[in-house]
Assembly symmetry: C2
Homo-oligomer: 330 residues x 2
């Protein structure tokens, strides 16, 4: 545990660095600490020894290490209250009765992205733990129907199916009946296995154009499981304006990561506090921090996240996420 002055000093250094993006020198902070720059230097050397500060080169000022940020977030920082104005902006969205909840969440995260100038992400939960609830068929014209697949947790997928000599509405309905009778309750991930081993063998008895229709549904379920598109970014490049992202390579590599569905789904949070992943922990870039939390509202769960530079206004962002999480969960 650090002494009082050391705490104060680390806090000042982190916040100064967050503000200016420049290594913090001893002279610049000795006023705020009421002591000489030499004293500051001694303390700084100690904080560096125990791994909370770093230098960019032998004679540079100090920069917080990842450990330093961590200590700051865990012990020195207090989440910042939102301003009246901010609360107002968010309330007009959150209290809009005619907005569906998930839309309200997305909209408020868009606002937060604008207010903070970082990137926001709303990530619906993966559907692999959803179970098939039912399949519906709706004819929409003489030569097409929509098949609607519904899961127990409310995920919906629709797929338009063309009708032709090979495929009749009647046959599709028979297939749907089969599925509804035999596969309801199956994990979405496993529907296709069952489709292949339980439905396919008996399908010939009921349906003429088995091959075409079987493929149709096989594909529809396949799409549903492979679809990880259940997310929504806002301000995707906002934070990349910070001076630490000054190389084309770096910008490209981060943008690439934010396009990568595997990376995105790895952001899904499982614990419900406000969790802070600093630098390398973010799995995106050593200069990036991700702050996220899981929300659960009547059974539906998801992750909301703010992605920004490691040199991020932690107090502000954590305050906002706490607020939003609180609001949507009631």
């Amino acid at each position: 545990m650090l002494g009082k002055r050391q705490n104060e000093m680390l806090k000042i250094i982190v916040e100064e660095y967050i503000k200016t993006a420049k290594p913090v020198g001893s002279k610049s902070i000795c006023d705020s600490l009421n002591c000489s720059s030499a004293t500051v230097r001694n303390e700084m050397a100690y904080l560096e020894d125990i791994g909370y500060l770093e230098k960019t080169h032998t004679s540079s000022g100090r920069v917080p290490s990842e450990l330093g940020y961590r200590y700051y977030v865990d012990n020195l920082m207090k989440p910042k209250e939102l301003t009246g104005e901010e609360v107002l902006t968010l309330q007009t969205i959150l209290s809009n009765q005619s907005l569906e909840l998930s839309d309200a969440i997305t909209k408020s995260m868009e606002i937060i992205s604008e207010l903070t100038n970082y990137t926001s992400l709303v990530l619906g939960s993966s559907i692999s733990d959803n179970r098939l609830k039912k399949v519906e068929v709706v004819p929409i014209s003489d030569n097409s129907v929509i098949a609607i697949i519904i899961t127990d947790k409310g995920h919906i997928e629709n797929k338009t199916i063309a009708i032709n000599e090979n495929i009749s509405v009647d046959e599709i309905r028979k297939m749907v009946d089969l599925i509804n009778n035999l596969l309801v309750g199956t994990l979405i991930d496993e529907v296709n296995k069952k489709l292949e081993f339980e439905i396919k063998p008996i399908i010939g008895k009921y349906i003429k154009q088995q091959e075409a229709i079987y493929n149709m549904f096989y594909n529809a379920f396949n799409e549903m499981t492979s679809k990880k598109d259940n997310y929504h970014f806002s301000g995707k490049t906002n934070f990349l304006k910070a001076p630490e992202f000054d190389s084309a390579d770096k910008v490209r590599s981060i943008v690439d990561k934010l396009e990568d569905k595997d990376v995105i789904s790895s952001i899904e949070e499982t614990s419900s506090g406000i969790n802070v992943y600093i630098g390398d922990e973010s799995n995106i870039d050593s200069d990036v921090t991700v702050i996220k939390t899981k929300y659960i509202v009547n059974g539906e769960e998801g992750t909301i996240a703010i992605i920004g530079p490691k040199r991020m206004k932690y107090d502000k962002v954590i305050g906002m996420l706490e607020y939003i999480k609180g609001e949507i969960e009631k």
Copy 2:
């Protein structure tokens, strides 16, 4: 019109520059033209005079101007045939019967993005010229239903509606009947106007919780019209690896543009040839070229586009787009 040698020379310079990204000097190409570097220089000076070439500084080699690229594309270049391997890869997708057409298009453009290392875009047509065909309601649980909105051109939008004390399934059905009786055939863009002026005034007679239900549908239609999400990128940052995109600012600005829905929808192409928009014409960046074409398949239309550096392999890309367009339109 240029002379024979001038044509040849411009072609060589453009292709050399596309390959190396370095200004082309007189010495390096005099062998291919069977004349001395001095002669090349004289001709180069002429091509520069008439605006087809540029210099990066007084004593640098030459670089094609936008006009030069244009002339190259219009007069000097021949679309390149696909290799057997490429045709094969694309055919396995295009001939897969169980893929819906739009999926097949998206998939093949993904392949093309990989084959060329540029960015591909499939852009569904805007739905503003669609007309309302019908609205369906499907109950999915005790406390929710899906409303499905279908247009004459086959666009489908679904929206989950929560049922509670305020909103009953019965009332929703009544509303849907009203809409299906009175608004079918209306342009999607105008549905909400009609909803407000034709349905709202008479709604009270039939439905109790008019306000809530009215808002529900108003929002659903609103979402449908404002949703321009009908597009699909592949390899969004591929081409940014080219050496001309070496500044963080440039990368950021292009990525920003490719995130911007207004920019994306401005890419929609109205003419059906293969159209080439070079540099500033691309509306994205002076170093970017967009090559695109419109396709129409049984009533449904859309745009496919390749986005890459101005220094792009025009022959390859144009060849591929021609091929794909031909394939999907049959």
